[in-house]
């Protein structure tokens, strides 16, 4: 009897300690939320040496439209460094350096890509962009 009481108290305590899945983008217990697939097949191509406009072209295999509304392109200075979003595109291609606000200088870079999907609630209210798993980093050297 005493052991049962202790076990019941322990179970009650651990149940009370359970945190709620309150993030509206959390797919846990919410089958309406579709998580975008991880992006694969990332390839990078840099501008030629001596070219005036430096750029990096990034291509990847497109995800099914069912789970993807667009892509984030990230750039880092090392494999395990922090990565920053350098562009957001709707297709499976990005020319980093084609826009005025892009900054591509000669050097070594690592690129990653992830897909996102817009999430809405039952009433059609926008809840946010759910980002899927990021691809493996891809190295590219931009010549001077």
């Amino acid at each position: 009897m005493k052991t049962k009481l202790i076990l019941a108290a322990l179970v009650l305590l651990l149940t009370a300690a359970c945190l709620k899945h309150n993030n509206p983008l959390d797919p846990y217990d919410n089958p309406d939320i579709i998580v975008p697939d991880q992006v694969s097949g990332v390839q990078c191509f840099a501008s030629q040496a001596g070219s005036a406009n430096k750029y990096v072209e990034v291509r990847w295999i497109a995800n099914p439209a069912l789970n993807t509304d667009g892509y984030y392109v990230f750039r880092g200075l090392a494999y395990n460094s922090d990565y920053a979003v350098v562009d957001t595109v709707a297709t499976n291609f990005c020319n980093h350096g084609s826009e005025a606000w892009h900054s591509v200088l000669p050097g070594d870079y690592w690129y990653k890509v992830s897909a996102f999907r817009d999430v809405y609630d039952g009433n059609g209210n926008f809840l946010g962009k759910l980002e899927g798993r990021r691809s493996e980093p891809r190295f590219i050297r931009v010549p001077a």
Partner: protein
Amino acid sequence: MRKTGFTLFFLILASCLLAQIQFDIESFADSTKYGWQDWRGRAAYREDLLNRQEMLQLYEMESSSIGAAILKSALVPGFGQITSKAGTKGTIFLGAELLSLGVSLYLYDRSNYYYNQYLTATQIDDIQQYYSLAQTPRYYSMLFLALGVVIWGYNIYDVILTTDNYNAQVWQDILQKHSKKAVSLGPEGIRVRF
């Protein structure tokens, strides 16, 4: 009028004298009826009674009330033990309670930090990672909180035993002190014990 006053006075005087004749002073002063053999027995009994009253007074002053000790320990764990002269035990209870509640609070704070990160996360890995990082310290926080409650409960149980022991010890000390009194003043005069 004057005659009536004198008559009343004599009647009262006569009744007082009659009452004195009827009052048996020997039977009243007979100490053997209480089990005393003579006036020495009565004096010894009185001395013993005074001694007991004095010891009881000392006990009342030096002993701890169990109710007050429980209240003290309920408010500050270990405080009841400390006032019952069990300082080490009281300090251990206080330290253990503070430690368990402190660790619980620290882990709860860590959990809340990661939970807030989880709530604002938009990337699937971050969502899962922050939730997991928030959940683990929350479990431990609750376990340490439960430990704190158990320590608090045991502290209440212990303060009853500690106060009981302390009061028993106080009584023993008073008894010892009284038996060791070298000089005592009684109706027989001053008594000196070597």
